[in-house]
Symmetry: C2
Subunit: 257 residues, 2 copies
Amino acid sequence: MKRLHKGFDITSYLPEGFEKSISNVIIEAPVDISINAKHWLTLMCTPSHLDELAIGFLYNEGIIKTIDEIRLAEVCHNGRNIDIWLNHNVDLPDMWQRTSGCMGGATSVKIKDVAKSKIIATILHPKKILWLTDLLLKSQSLYAMSGGVHSSALSDGENILVIMEDIGRHNTLDKIAGRCLMEIGFPTPGILITTGRISSEMLQKAAHIGASIIISRTAPSSLSIDYARYMGICLIGYARKDRFKIYSHAEYVEQSK
Amino acid sequence: MKRLHKGFDITSYLPEGFEKSISNVIIEAPVDISINAKHWLTLMCTPSHLDELAIGFLYNEGIIKTIDEIRLAEVCHNGRNIDIWLNHNVDLPDMWQRTSGCMGGATSVKIKDVAKSKIIATILHPKKILWLTDLLLKSQSLYAMSGGVHSSALSDGENILVIMEDIGRHNTLDKIAGRCLMEIGFPTPGILITTGRISSEMLQKAAHIGASIIISRTAPSSLSIDYARYMGICLIGYARKDRFKIYSHAEYVEQSK
């Protein structure tokens, strides 16, 4: 297992003066993805679950639709290269959109390519929403050790099925998509809980995973709300302890006493 | 002036029950950049200071070195397109690195291309560091109205010279670089204060701006610390109220009583 955090000698300034110590910091590393022996791009990420990351990224970017298209996925020994062989040729996009968080495809087009029918409406009790948020925070193993890391989890409304951590919030959703494709399938309903802000690209990736409810600890952007309303996704922000805000499709949240 | 936040009807869940209200949300919008009449890429951003954003992005990506290379920069009436005309031809990079926050050039190569000599060491008193952090937070006009937005400021150690807000933390540094190029020049020393996490790309952009001290409210990544140590930049994280952590070049912080 590669190390995902690293100790650095630091100096702290505190009200009582300066203090030297060792601080754990989350690892950020470049990881190359090659498709059919051709270098495609380099992801900056926390180097865990690299096969999930690469496969989920391909899925979320619309390059593959099922795991059967993957002939071989191999993480090289140095942990800095993932070789993916597909059982078909592929035209990789060469024009990217630089999003507010991370580059992605042409989001405004792609969002409408995600079949709306993927999104299966569900109804969740407010207490369940707060319980899932709490569970995500309690399950953050890397965050507890280093801070500076995002985590996201996928639930079927009952349990948390998978949780992923990464320095990049988008990477957490790619790693989750990869795990779904490779092992557990996509749950219905799909409920996504994340510590990250919801930009249009986060919304797009969550829609690809089939999430009908997205719960964030922090803020959504205007575009993510527009997309969520269009897609039939319930978008919840600022989920903290005993409260949250519903930005779209509030009818997915049980409002009876 | 384009609107930078927008009211959405939302439903809040609170301990005392559900409540309907209007919530201000930060605008995220696609903005196309064309160079010499050729579409280059689309930035997802908060659409303010678009000429600064485009010009600063070109500078931080190493496409231009001075403002004299810009023949014309024109923001189209719809506010969704920026036409840049350079007074020379240019080969735009077609291979991007997808970083943990946002795509950029091949960071690990480019960081060494930034002339180390740009970084002029300086010494700052801890109280000044906390004062600048406090000033940044107090100056956030968009954050006060909508939340969900990052802000960054550039100081010469005495005053804050420019402050920029955007949904994307990288965009705030591009907007600052643009303002420096277009109007105020790059201060020496340059001190950058930001609400955003410091990934390798944030470090790279800050180095391009000539920042010798970078102060973040939150965490740095392992790679940003490695680069800061190599570049001779003092990297400070978790600057809050009465304390902070120094991850590199602690000698830039005055430690005498």
